[in-house]
Amino acid sequence: MICAKFTKCGNAKYISHIDMLKTIVYTLRRAGIRIKYSQGYNPYPLLKFNAPLPLGLASIAEYFTLELAESIDAKDFLLAFNKVSVEGIKLLFAKKCNKNPNFAGRIVASDYIVEASTPLPCKIEHLAQTDCIIEYIQKGVRVQEEISAKILSLKVDGTRLLARLATGSENLRLDRLLTKVNLDFDVCLGLESASRISQYVQGEKGLLNVDEYLKELEL
């Protein structure tokens, strides 16, 4: 099994999660890398991602795991992949692993960075410290949700907003938070100028960056 960290930027951020699977498989085939498929009537490639990124949000910290049908050096894997990958999707590292890191199940938090055109009010940081209720429509129904527990941290740095939000089974979508921020602080932040910059699993001593987690897995 091989696991890899990759970017999904530029035009590629508009590729949906379902199409991403295909995009990666096409890239691997172009790279001449043979992968393993499931058994059965409709074989599917044994390729697993972390939880889906919202359409239109860029990221420099996405992960997948993959079962290979042949033995290949991780470094060669990375080079071969990046040589034929589509614009915006590049592997940052690849390494062999013996145990499934279970990204979709283990990842609990993500860092996001959002760029505004003008300096942002510092008051935004207080959103996480009080009750924070957002409203959105889910499957045609208006939903109210108290999200302060899902905002792990919120920092304003000039024109930048840095947010650490719950990810995975307890998830807070960045676009929903931004709608709330825009409404309360009369600013104009959108996914178009945001990106995910790192993801975390729950470690023994608090949050652990997935890159570190993979290093531990190796040992």
Binding site: Y14, I15, K22, R29, R34, E87
Partner: protein, 591 residues
């Protein structure tokens, strides 16, 4: 264009990847070119990117050192609305250049009901509709594609129209456009000398019909014809999500209703070795997971079994599935589909009785059908899809009963063979449209009401048969398609009126605006009956000025045979002298 604004819009619309390009294999877009062209398609991205012709022309132009070619497809109404709201002119996928800034726009017209989409795109681009209202400051606007078998309904909107194979003609036009940038008139006159090029503004009329002969463009040798070695790989799922190997152009069969079967003659095959090389190159350069064999009747390709075997052998180890399309019942070889997914088989008997199949020259017998189905069922197939046409010339209600009888028979055959009743039969009925350049070009289109009656009659007949799902085409859409297919220059104003009444995406049932079209006809005083009526064989038809090779005399002879119920055998065995070999050698019997 303002990138920030675009990003904001993209987040508001369905499938934003339709509008931004960035596909793998996109060629360089800045190379010191002197001509900038854009291939336009009058439907959405998912349909456009399923089209092989677009990829071929895109590749030919981009392979030329002095030409750059981009793409632009019809935006779905959600995106179009945002463009209009933001006052953003329609732009190309690759460099986001407004369409009006190109030297050439080449529209591929695949379907008569996408004509309003051409106007929609011109409108969004801020380009005047009529060619006569445009001068050198606007791009040279060209049309091509299968609908240009009869270009008259939309001829007034285009400067040039390419009839037939576009490979050579389109490149020649682009090179002329480079030479005559500042003199549109000279460009048009020069271009009219190229085989396959029709210049609507330069022709002579008699009684409202163009009489300036235009010869169809024909690529003589398919094996040496250019094909894209590095086709674009869509980032989102498209309708035909696979690589396409074009085995041959033309068709041996001679089904009398089929425009493509006559229009794309003579038969030109790509050599087997070339096809196998192409398959390997295409898989390696795209990584796509499906490969389709694309031709009018792939099963008729000489030594098709051998070809499929060789291609499967090279594709399968790479995890690539080979799809077998458009099999005719008589050429269907069960050996070919062995090992393929047993999900479903599609067949097109087209008519329910032997008599009517003889009329349309669909040369398959009840015996063939039984034999094929029996073989399919022993292989384990559980779903069968059957295509029929209603409203065929000489059709009676007995022929429609014949469809139901055939479906019953297939079901019984299954039960007998498999000892279970779980077969699913999907029956689809399309209303027949008499198209130009077929032996039925003179036939009247069935009346709209009668067409619906026949669909409903068949629906009732199929109701008692278990496991059958029936779908049929919209009779209003079929009527409009017939009018557009058989139309003349007068229709341009109807199409424009319909567009102004809000008609776009007419081929999409959720968008079809029957009222808008109705008003368009009444506003312009054009009568539908004049277009769907029967024509006499000595009448001058609006498309007669186009020389496709196959002679009008031959078509008339076939029409006569049809009415007598006489079949014409496949040209595999004997040349029937249709005339198509006048532009290029026909490989019907030589291969």
């Amino acid at each position: 264009m303002n990138q920030q604004k675009l990003q904001e819009i993209l987040l508001k619309v369905e499938k934003p990847a339709r509008y931004i390009g960035g596909e793998y294999n996109t060629p360089p877009m800045r190379k010191g070119e002197s001509v900038r062209a854009a291939i336009c398609f009058a439907d959405i991205y998912e349909i456009a990117m399923s089209n092989l012709g677009i990829q071929i022309l895109y590749d030919i132009l981009n392979s030329h050192p002095s030409i750059v070619c981009e793409r632009c497809f019809t935006p779905w109404p959600d995106f179009a609305k945002e463009l209009q709201k933001g006052n953003i002119p329609l732009f190309s996928l690759e460099t986001r250049t407004p369409l009006a800034h190109f030297d050439i726009l080449g529209f591929s017209c695949q379907y008569e009901l996408s004509f309003t989409n051409v106007l929609f795109m011109l409108d969004l681009a801020g380009i005047p509709f009529y060619a006569k209202d445009r001068d050198e400051q606007f791009p040279l606007i060209i049309a091509g594609g299968p609908c240009m078998a009869n270009p008259e309904p939309i001829a007034d909107f285009f400067d040039l129209i390419v009839i037939g194979d576009g490979e050579e003609a389109f490149l020649e036009i682009a090179l002329l456009a480079e030479q005559y940038k500042d003199n549109r008139q000279a460009l048009l006159e020069k271009a009219s000398e190229i085989q396959g090029v029709y210049v609507p503004s330069l022709c002579t009329f008699e009684n409202g019909v163009c009489v300036t002969s235009v010869k169809k463009a024909v690529v003589a040798d398919l094996t040496s014809a250019p094909y894209p070695k590095k086709p674009l790989v869509p980032n989102i799922q498209v309708v035909h999500d696979r690589l396409m190997l074009e085995l041959f152009r033309g068709c041996w069969a001679g089904c009398r209703f089929c425009q493509a079967g006559f229009y794309y003659r003579p038969i030109r095959c790509r050599e087997q070795g070339k096809l196998i090389d192409m398959a390997q190159v295409l898989i390696a350069n795209t990584g796509r997971e499906e490969l389709g064999l694309s031709s009018l009747s792939s099963g008729d390709y000489p030594n098709i079994e051998e070809l499929v075997k060789s291609i499967t052998e090279l594709a399968e180890p790479q995890g690539v599935k080979v799809q077998l399309p458009s099999l005719r019942l008589d050429s269907f070889d069960i050996e070919l589909t062995k090992g393929a997914r047993l999900s479903g088989l599609t067949f097109a008997p087209e008519a329910g009785t032997q008599r009517l199949r003889d009329v349309i020259n669909k040369n398959i017998t009840d015996q063939d059908i039984k034999k094929t189905m029996a073989a399919a069922f022993s292989q384990g197939y559980k779903t069968i899809k059957l295509y029929f046409m209603l409203g065929l010339p000489t059709e009676s209600y007995q022929d429609i009963d014949g469809i139901a009888d055939m479906v019953s028979l297939i079901r019984e055959l299954y039960i007998e063979k498999r000892k279970d009743k779980r077969i699913k039969i999907n029956v689809s009925a399309n209303i027949f449209i008499p198209k130009p350049f077929t032996p039925f070009q003179w036939v009247a289109q069935i009346d709209k009401k009668e067409a619906l009656n026949r669909c409903l009659y068949l629906k009732e007949k199929l109701r008692p048969i278990a496991g059958v799902r029936f779908s049929y085409s919209d009779n209003r859409v079929a009527e409009l398609e017939a009018v557009m297919a058989r139309g003349d220059r007068a229709l341009a104003k109807v199409i424009l009126a319909a567009y102004r009444n809000g008609c776009v995406f007419d081929g999409w049932s959720e968008h079809f605006n029957a009222k808008g079209w109705e008003h368009a006809f009444s506003e312009t005083g054009i009568k539908i009956e004049d277009y769907i009526r029967e024509r006499t064989t000595d009448e001058l038809l609006p498309w007669d000025f186009i020389d496709i090779g196959v002679s009008k005399k031959y078509l008339a002879k076939e029409y006569k045979r049809a009415l007598l119920g006489q079949t014409t055998p496949s040209c595999k065995y004997k040349c029937i002298g249709c005339g198509a070999d006048k532009f290029a050698p026909c490989q019907g019997i030589s291969v």
